[in-house]
């Protein structure tokens, strides 16, 4: 074969059972994708065993390994594109290589890789972001006590995530799912000397475990429904309708619980903001770009199950869409009241994950995956940017220790703003395209003249629009508080080194350009070959007996795009007006308006001031619209979040412990063990009683003996 031969793709056409043409993707890299997770896994072992003795503490091994995976992933991607091109209009079946792992009771467990468009897209994201985070970390955690250990677990995480992405069957998915969870646990608790950090790690792990109940049960249902662990088999049976709808519904609801915990969906999302206790590169890699999208990925991977189970087509509401919708709103409104920059981004991540889940819920599969793809870049960029800032000011508090960093940290500032705009969804940055596709996908926009879609999810569209406005507004607030005004912290901040800025710029480039990979169909400005490329290569095209459901595609509409842009501009403008105009007018170190709702109790004085100033309407406007959301509503939501939902989580933990105490002290020790001890005591007591008869006096014994003998004699005489 040789190296060149390895690149050759050999499409082999075979007829699927139902007669539709399906081309099998082939090629060396597609068939040997197992190398991609194996390399970082090996690197984990090497770093763990020999890292400390290496000149750079093992980071060089990690970077090399991830770079190798990246290159391999890229080659796999190229080969996949080649396969799709070669197939022409026919559907391309994924490249599957699998081996029997073990057999139990007649069920064989296989291990293998499934490479298709979705997998290669994810591999690209994971390896690229991981590589950049590795490079970034060499500076960020330099001098840390557990430098080597940090890199070892970054490698392990990358390996587990890639393993998860390449899963050929559901068992492998569970394996990868749990492994990334553990890496997240270890890395959140990286500085475990502080109780708060280990608490956050524990909380993350336990919350995820709660969701895992759903995962285990859901996968069990699917296994017995399809009699197989194979992702392709489960999907195709579900898509054909060979599995009872009730089972699919039960399975998808169970799996949704898993999505809820892993992808931070409402109401199991509370671990994610706490997880910010980990080092920032970890937050960027694990809690923004990759691990938290595992839930989204799982839904996308098993989409036929959800599509059929939740009856996504032809409906206007379903559990998945509502869960995503609520999450996206809750996350966005909570992002307003944070003063910790990483927490803003964490809530923003929750909100965007909600966006993806919402998209999947309305059947906009490609849009969801596309958003996952673009979000990974700009959110990683934002997180790494916040890390760069905190590296300079040694704090994450925007109000106390930041402000005015624009002049001190030009590179960080520029990349942060680019990524923020991408997140806000301003054309032509990456977020715009993916967000807009999701909005179009809801199909709930009859008024804007679009067509297609899987149903009329008008309410969901409304939620998504609202989130778009909120997103633009809180990111403006975040940018203002961090980079504008005057510096409020200590010391002299300075721009970070190149190992930090270069990854930032690379991510910023992707934050700008990643969206162009999937320009909408109606975007006539560019040649046809440039449009919808992402969807073309990533989305499995359904054929009879194939592993993907028949989803409908919405036609994008200019009107909708224009309207959503207006919404974003409105959010952006309102926040801009509030912070850049009003707050700034109070001086560079102000962070909020002094006479907001918080000081409303001094009604008389406030009324006087409001009257004295002619901004009465302005105040009303800013108070009700911008700060109203940011103030009482968000604060209320946050209160509900901390005291309500989070309290439930905490209480559940505490209650379990106290239940344990009651059970142990009262039941186990008293009742169960009591019964045992009572039997012992009873026989002991009986012995004590009987012992008294044993006087040691021979004559008593003799007396008893004679009496008994006499009695026996009497009996004998009487009876015989």
């Amino acid at each position: 074969m040789g190296l060149l031969g390895a690149f050759a793709t050999t499409p082999a056409v075979f007829a699927a059972e139902a007669g539709a043409e399906v081309v099998k993707a082939g090629g060396w890299f597609l068939a040997n994708a197992w190398l991609i997770p194996l390399i970082p896994a090996a690197s984990f072992l090497i770093i763990l065993l020999f890292g400390k003795r290496m000149p750079r503490g093992g980071s060089e091994v990690g970077i090399t390994a991830v770079a190798a995976s990246f290159v391999l992933g890229l080659l796999t991607l190229v080969q996949w594109i080649g396969a799709v091109n070669a197939a022409g209009d026919a559907a391309v079946s994924p490249a599957i290589s699998k081996w029997t792992w073990w057999i139990s009771g007649g069920t064989s467990f296989t291990i293998g890789t499934l490479v298709d468009g979705l997998a290669v897209a994810l591999i690209f994201v994971v390896t690229l972001v991981s590589l950049l985070v590795h490079i970034y970390s060499t500076d960020y955690v330099a001098g840390d006590v557990r430098y080597t250990h940090f890199f070892a677990f970054l490698s392990l995480f990358t390996a587990s995530m890639l393993f998860f992405v390449l899963s050929e069957n559901t068992i492998q998915m569970i394996l990868g799912w749990e492994m990334v969870g553990v890496c997240s646990f270890v890395l959140i608790g990286h500085w475990w000397e502080e109780k708060a950090n280990s608490n956050a790690a524990l909380k993350a792990f336990l919350t995820n475990r709660v969701g895992d109940i759903g995962l285990l049960i859901g996968m069990a249902i699917l296994f017995f429904a399809a009699d197989s662990f194979s992702v392709v088999k489960i999907n195709s049976l579900a898509a054909e309708g060979s599995i009872a709808h009730g089972l699919l519904l039960a399975a998808s609801l169970c799996l949704m619980a898993a999505v809820m915990s892993k992808s931070g969906q409402f109401f199991l999302h509370t671990w994610l903001p706490d997880a910010m206790a980990g080092p920032t590169p970890v937050s960027a890699l694990i809690h923004a770009a990759t691990m938290v999208v595992a839930g989204v990925y799982m839904v996308a991977r098993l989409f036929a199950v959800f599509f059929e189970g939740l009856a996504i087509a032809g409906s206007s509401v379903n559990a998945l869409a509502i869960m995503g919708g609520i999450t996206t709103l809750v996350g966005a409104s909570l992002a307003f009241v944070q003063t910790d920059i990483k927490r803003v981004l964490a809530y923003s991540t929750i909100s965007q994950l909600g966006y993806m889940v919402l998209a999947l819920g309305v059947g906009a599969w490609t849009a969801a995956v596309f958003h996952l793809f673009t979000h990974a870049f700009f959110k990683a960029c934002l997180f790494l940017g916040s890390g760069s800032v905190s590296h300079a000011v040694h704090s994450f508090d925007m109000k106390k220790d930041m402000g005015g960093l624009r002049k001190h940290m030009p590179h960080t500032f520029r990349t942060f703003v680019i990524a923020s705009l991408a997140l806000a969804g301003l054309a032509p940055l990456a977020g715009f395209w993916s967000k807009d596709e999701i909005l179009a996908g809801t199909g709930g926009w009859g008024a804007f003249g679009g067509t297609g879609g899987n149903g009329a999810y008008t309410f969901v569209l409304f939620m998504a629009m609202l989130t778009a406005a909120l997103t633009a507004a809180y990111m403006t607030r975040c940018v203002y508080l961090t980079f504008f005004g005057t510096y409020r912290g200590h010391g002299h901040p300075h721009e970070s080194g190149r190992r930090i800025t270069v990854p930032l710029w690379i991510l910023a480039v992707f934050a700008v350009g990643a969206g162009w990979t999937n320009l909408p169909k109606g975007f006539q400005i560019v040649p046809k070959g440039w449009r919808e490329q992402f969807g073309h290569y990533v989305e499995p095209r359904a054929a009879e007996g194939f592993y993907f459901p028949h989803i409908a595609h919405a036609t994008p509409s200019w009107t909708l795009a224009a309207f959503s842009t207006l919404v974003v501009l409105f959010g952006l403008g309102a926040a801009y007006y509030y912070y850049f105009v009003k707050v700034r007018a109070l001086g560079g170190s102000a962070t909020e308006l002094p006479n907001g709702l918080t000081s409303r109790f001094r009604i008389a004085r406030l009324g006087h001031r409001l009257l004295a100033r002619k901004y009465y309407l302005d105040h009303l406007y800013t108070d009700i619209l911008a700060k109203g959301t940011a103030g009482p509503v968000a604060r209320g939501a946050y209160w509900l979040n901390q005291r309500g939902i989070d309290e439930v989580v905490n209480q559940a933990g505490r209650k379990a412990v106290s239940a344990g105490h009651v059970l142990y002290d009262k039941i186990d020790q008293k009742v169960v063990d009591g019964v045992v001890n009572a039997t012992g005591r009873a026989s002991h007591g009986a012995g004590e009683e009987i012992r008294r008869m044993q006087t040691g006096k021979v004559q008593q014994y003799a007396g008893v003996m004679f009496v008994v003998a006499a009695l026996i004699a009497v009996v004998l005489i009487l009876v015989l």
Binding site: I690, R691, R692, M693, Q694, T695, G696, K697, V698, Q699, A702, G703, F706
Partner: protein, 99 residues
Amino acid sequence: MWLNQFLVLSAVLFSIGVYGVLARRNGVLVLMSIELILNAVNINLVAFGSYVQTVVGEVFALFVITVAAAEVGVGLAILLLLYRNRRSVDIHDVDMMKG
């Protein structure tokens, strides 16, 4: 034959023996009472033996006498040791087997 007289004698001897075993505190007297019980048995054996015309009764009686001699030997030895250790042969004092 005058069986009844022998049986009455034996019953009287037995009862005296039982009384002695149960009531006396002196170990030597208890041993002697046991002798009485055994001899009551012997009388019975010999009487029944001659009543049914066989020597088995006498043979058994001889065995009993032999065993009784051995038993008294052991019993007296124990009593002697008891007396050496405790300066008393009162069997009420000997309750070391008390549970």
